[in-house]
Structures are given as structure tokens and as C-alpha cells.
């Protein structure tokens, strides 16, 4: 269950229209390493995570990612809310404008629509946590790429905040990996899949 708080986690106040910038920041909404993929990844993986502490972390970070998705959408919206027909023809945004006008729609910077293939829910505790650590790094790189080319401090400010969160989440998923390891046999973490196998369950056996 979720409830909605009527505020952004971090404020967004952008006064200058810039469809070109909107077109590539949109990637962090519906792109391969965007906030929607992040949220759906963690909120999907939590069901098969065998350790309650780790599935709790997936729930909390997945929830924070929803708030980040809202920040990204607010940036894209504010960059295009006063768009003129002339500005709509800006290279890069023109194709988007024809299909969506000023509507907010999840797609990658290159125009590929959001797709669940951007993330994985593999049903294996180690595999899923390794994916989550990689996902935070991929999002961090995307924010680095945005910060390398955007000059407007009104845009850079919330992007810096979102980037900082990727580093914190990476640390938490790393700690979750440690918590998972504590619950496994360190002689062979891969002897069985703790998200699926229950050694001793009738019909299964541990064999080499």
C-alpha cells in the first residue's frame, strides 16, 4: 500500500524553456537506466528475496525511486510547459512533440519507449543484488553525462541531488549483499539458489 505526499522530495524550479535538454533528461524517466526502471526493478525483485531485511530495503529504495521519477517528470514538464510552436521544432524534440505534444511519456533519450526489458528480476538473491548495484552505477553515469553538458544551475541542482542518491543506494545494496552472504555458506555461495531451493525438501537433494 502506498499513500501520496503532496510535495517533491527535492524542489524543482526551472524558469527557462529548453526542449533539447528535456529530450535527454527524459531518459531518466523512461530510459534504460531511468528511475522508472529502478523502481520497478526493486519493487518486482522483493517478492522472491528470501531475506526479510533485504526485501524491506528493496521496498524502501523502490519507493524512493518513485519520488525520483516524479522529480525527473517535473524537470521535463517545467522545461517544456511554455513551449511555443517554433520551439517545438527544436532538433531532437520535434519527433517527440508530434506524437505527444507537451505530454509526459516514458521513453529513452534516443526515443525508444519504456520497456520492462530494461531491468531484470531473476529470482536469485545474489544475481538480483548484483544487478541492483550495477543499476545504481549505470544511473550515476547517466547523471554524470547530464551534468557534463547542462549549464543551467536550475537544472543541475536537482540532477546533482538525484546523482548523490545513486551513490547512497549503491552502498546500501552492497550492505544488503553482505547481509545475504551472512546467511549463506561462505565455502560456496553458489551451492544452491536461496530464492528457490530448499535443501531437504522432498524431491530435492544436494549433489555434486
Amino acid at each position: 500500500m502506498w499513500t501520496y505526499e503532496q510535495r517533491l522530495q527535492y524542489p524543482v524550479k526551472i524558469t527557462k524553456t529548453c526542449p533539447k535538454t528535456a529530450q535527454y533528461i527524459m531518459s531518466q524517466y523512461g530510459g534504460p537506466d531511468g528511475e522508472m526502471a529502478a523502481s520497478m526493478r526493486y519493487l518486482s525483485q522483493r517478492y522472491s528475496m528470501p531475506y526479510k531485511q533485504v526485501s524491506g530495503l528493496l521496498t524502501d529504495i523502490g519507493t524512493e525511486e518513485l519520488a525520483h521519477m516524479e522529480i525527473i517528470c517535473a524537470i521535463v514538464y517545467q522545461l517544456t510547459r511554455n513551449l511555443t510552436p517554433e520551439e517545438a521544432k527544436t532538433a531532437g524534440f520535434d519527433a517527440y512533440y508530434i506524437d505527444h505534444t507537451k505530454g509526459i511519456w516514458p521513453a529513452a533519450a534516443a526515443g525508444v519507449p519504456f520497456n520492462a526489458c530494461e531491468f531484470q528480476s531473476k529470482g536469485d538473491a545474489i544475481t538480483d543484488l548484483a544487478e541492483d548495484m550495477a543499476a545504481e552505477q549505470k544511473a550515476r553515469t547517466t547523471y554524470d553525462n547530464i551534468l557534463r553538458v547542462v549549464t543551467d544551475p536550475e537544472i543541475r541542482d536537482p540532477i546533482k541531488f538525484l546523482r548523490a542518491r545513486e551513490v547512497v543506494h549503491f552502498q546500501r545494496f552492497g550492505e544488503a549483499m553482505e547481509l545475504a552472504k551472512d546467511r549463506m555458506d561462505s565455502r560456496n555461495f553458489y551451492a544452491f539458489n536461496p530464492s528457490f531451493d530448499m535443501p531437504g525438501r522432498p524431491g530435492t537433494a544436494l549433489r555434486n
Binding site: L8, T151, Q171
Partner: protein, 124 residues
Amino acid sequence: MENQCLAIPSIPMQQWGQIYDPAQALAEGTIFPELNKPFYMAPEGCNTTLPRSGELAAFSQICFAATDAMLYLDTHPGDMQAREYYENCLIKKKELMERADCGCCSAAHYDWENKPVVWEGGNC
């Protein structure tokens, strides 16, 4: 790193230490100075020393501090200093809500007509 093994990632467990005040924490994106690792590349001519836009409201600051502490507690549930910090954040959050001096708290949830639209740039 007490738990280092071959063929699996290892990361040191963070220890609770110095904490930013809530205003700086929201501005930096974390309450933890040791996790604050900014990116320094910027376009030429971009003034990165410009002050951050707008005054960040006290309510957002304390909610953010609580969120960051909560994630720490998710992986360190027995840390008494972190628990105390987190509980204090929740108390301050409740006090601010009772004062109801911000746009999102002063009107009823359903009273959308009389509240700033979240994504228009209003602040809470």
C-alpha cells in the same frame, strides 16, 4: 571487510558517524559526509559555485533526513545512535505537520483546487 571471499562482491558496512544538519543534507543529497562523492566535470563557462536555487523548506529537510536514516537502519537495524536520530526526525516532522505552515499540510488532501501543483515548482 570481515566478509571477503573470492567470486562475490564485498563492501564494508558503513559505521554511524558524523551527520550533516538537515539543511545541508538535503542540499548534498545525503546525511552522511562519507557518502558524499560529487562529480566535478561541468561544461566550460558553467558557474558551479552558484548558490543552489531556492530556500529548501524545513519540512522537506527533515523528511529527507528521516529517509536517509531509514535506509541506513534497513541494513543496520540494531544501531542505537541511528535509531535515536531517526526517532528525533519523526518527532520534528510531526511538530512541523502540526504547525501546518506549509502549502501541502495546511489544506485537506482532497482540496487540490486550493493548493500549489506539486510539479509546477511550488515548495514545501
